[in-house]
Symmetry: C5
Subunit: 83 residues, 5 copies
Amino acid sequence: MLMGKVVGSVISTRKSDALVGNKFMIVEVCESMKSEGQRLIAIDKIGAGIGECVLVAQGSAARVGSGMENVPVDAAIVGIIDD
Amino acid sequence: MLMGKVVGSVISTRKSDALVGNKFMIVEVCESMKSEGQRLIAIDKIGAGIGECVLVAQGSAARVGSGMENVPVDAAIVGIIDD
Amino acid sequence: MLMGKVVGSVISTRKSDALVGNKFMIVEVCESMKSEGQRLIAIDKIGAGIGECVLVAQGSAARVGSGMENVPVDAAIVGIIDD
Amino acid sequence: MLMGKVVGSVISTRKSDALVGNKFMIVEVCESMKSEGQRLIAIDKIGAGIGECVLVAQGSAARVGSGMENVPVDAAIVGIIDD
Amino acid sequence: MLMGKVVGSVISTRKSDALVGNKFMIVEVCESMKSEGQRLIAIDKIGAGIGECVLVAQGSAARVGSGMENVPVDAAIVGIIDD
């Protein structure tokens, strides 16, 4: 997983039916992490807010353990890191 | 996922039978995203047009949620980002 | 997927039994694509020749849609791009 | 797999239910490895301590062989390298 | 797949039970390949020796076709390249 900071979100009205109801957060990868400073879009299922530091799972990991097996996502916020 | 802009398309007449009927779009990754400025080829199932800003799912995510389990693709346009 | 040019092939006599009968092509990633100029080895199931411009699917995508579910490959030529 | 050194850990109180009970270690990739010097977060199921040199499996590999098929993780410490 | 040269091996006494009996080889990626000059750890099921030039499959490909579906590995030597 990588650690990142939620810096915003994006809205997509026209999207895959399987994606309806999901929030797309913009996550900026934390310093010293792999891909430092770069951004990716992750689904948020745990209610992370802008400015929070989060754990992001990538690849097929983004779809396991939360009933999202059939949702076309490759990144998900799976935890909020304690201060 | 990553955000990118559709900048063109490619035609492949000789291809895997499983790919017949799909459109191959050239997507350029948006600024500040991971792999910024680089291009990849993604299948389009939602009717994105050239110049539109899109959400691209990579890896096995490209094949779930849209009946493409047996189609050899590793990137798909899954949403169009609102202006 | 990525676009690349077939620039050669490699021979492997001692290999996994599951790989017997496959051709290993050296593909050089096209300009402006992600990983531009770099090379990878892809299985060819559609008869691409040296010098041809091809579409390469990576990851598990390389094994779907062509009866290769049990073949240990992570890249496959899935289309030849029209001139 | 990659070789890395355990340099710390992170705590996440609010997380995916499927992640409860797991330890999140910060692993710094060893010199000369791919992504040298960069850090990632890996689940630890074998009791690695800070300062130890470990083997990390990434992607879906992080979830096989240890009853974690439904845990949203993309990196796991799977071995401790002998001195 | 990538082409690399076997440059050594690592020993891990404390490891995932599912990994027992496997050899961990250090492979250095060949010139002009993606990730040129970088190293990764791959399982060897075909008896490659140090100094040999090999084909490495990454990701889930490392676990198919050789009864390793439940072994947490993300890279495997699947062929030895002829001289």
